[in-house]
Symmetry: C2
Subunit: 194 residues, 2 copies
């Protein structure tokens, strides 16, 4: 009983299922059958909508990135002024959702993918550029010409703190992650404006 217009629904279900399965496996060692099953369809249908497994992974990566982007935009819309905006970006980067094991696994594996799959690398760079540009925008009024350099530092620190917190073993602590980055920001602001 084929209803029409299934494509977007099926694709969305597959993307969601892919992320769950990557979380379960902790790696990209996930079969199309597993994904399809979790999404409630046959493996053949998954191949029908996405051409290949790699395409499925890339769609999942886009989805993760889109969610993160939306989270940041949402947080930014709610506040005003350079410093609060900076805090909003940082908090969004360490939101509870980002520490769910599926999300962590997705990010780690996307780093791995970015080494060899050009489209994955492109997407990762897109994320990095957007973060950089958001940060620079907040930092310009605070540290002027230093904005670029400081933003690079904050961006890298966010990634590094995330990595450590995610792999810590115990339940990750968003608050302390945010605090670590804010501590850095405070130090830089004091120095670059002195």
């Amino acid at each position: 009983m084929p209803k029409l217009g299934m494509e977007p629904i099926r694709k969305a279900a597959l993307v969601k299922a892919t992320i769950v399965e990557i979380g379960r496996a902790g790696s990209l060692d996930v079969t199309v059958s597993q994904i399809a099953k979790r999404a409630g369809m046959s493996a053949a249908l998954a191949h029908h909508y996405f051409g290949s497994k790699e395409d499925i992974f890339l769609a999942a990566m886009r989805h993760i990135l889109a969610i993160y982007g939306a989270e940041v935009r949402g947080a930014l819309a709610a506040v005003d002024g350079p410093k609060p905006r900076l805090q909003a970006i940082i908090r969004a980067s360490f939101s509870a959702g980002n520490f769910r094991k599926e999300t962590v696994s997705a990010w780690l594996n996307f780093y791995v993918l970015a080494q060899t799959v050009p489209e994955a690398r492109r997407l990762l760079r897109l994320y990095q550029r957007r973060l950089q540009s958001n940060l620079v925008h907040c930092l310009r009024p605070l540290v002027g010409a230093h904005a670029g350099r400081v933003a690079s530092g904050i961006g890298a620190l966010i990634d590094g703190v995330y990595l450590r917190e995610a792999l810590k073993g115990e339940a990750p602590d968003s608050a302390s992650a945010v605090a670590t980055v804010l501590d850095f920001v405070a130090a830089e602001l004091k120095e670059k404006t002195a």
Copy 2:
């Protein structure tokens, strides 16, 4: 013509070959046959010396960690005083060898492994604790009670900068990576000692 005492030689060759193959593939999607072939032996022999593929990966991880540890120790032995020691650690973390594609791939994939393989997680934590302890040792005389917190920041920043530099696409720039971290250190020192 079986010479005796082959075990350590074979194992070392396999570990080396494993790292090369991981670099080539960019992932852990590497067959035991590929590894064994590159190491100049049959796949069966690889299974004979290491019980399983996972054991081979863990041995490779230990090797990478050991090299990094040795690099840091070597750099530390050559200098004296807190600040130079700090610089030595940071420089060692961004040495050219660490940006070889095999090494990058190994690290990224070890992060992935650390999610699910207990021994991998253990090794990663060992690395993090050692770095932390090295940093705290340098920082104590500089920032006293803040040493722990500052060390966490530096450690995370090192990982984050490494990640970004490694995945940048263009040839990674050790000097600017070091500079980014040192910039952070300078800011923190100024603040925490003021």
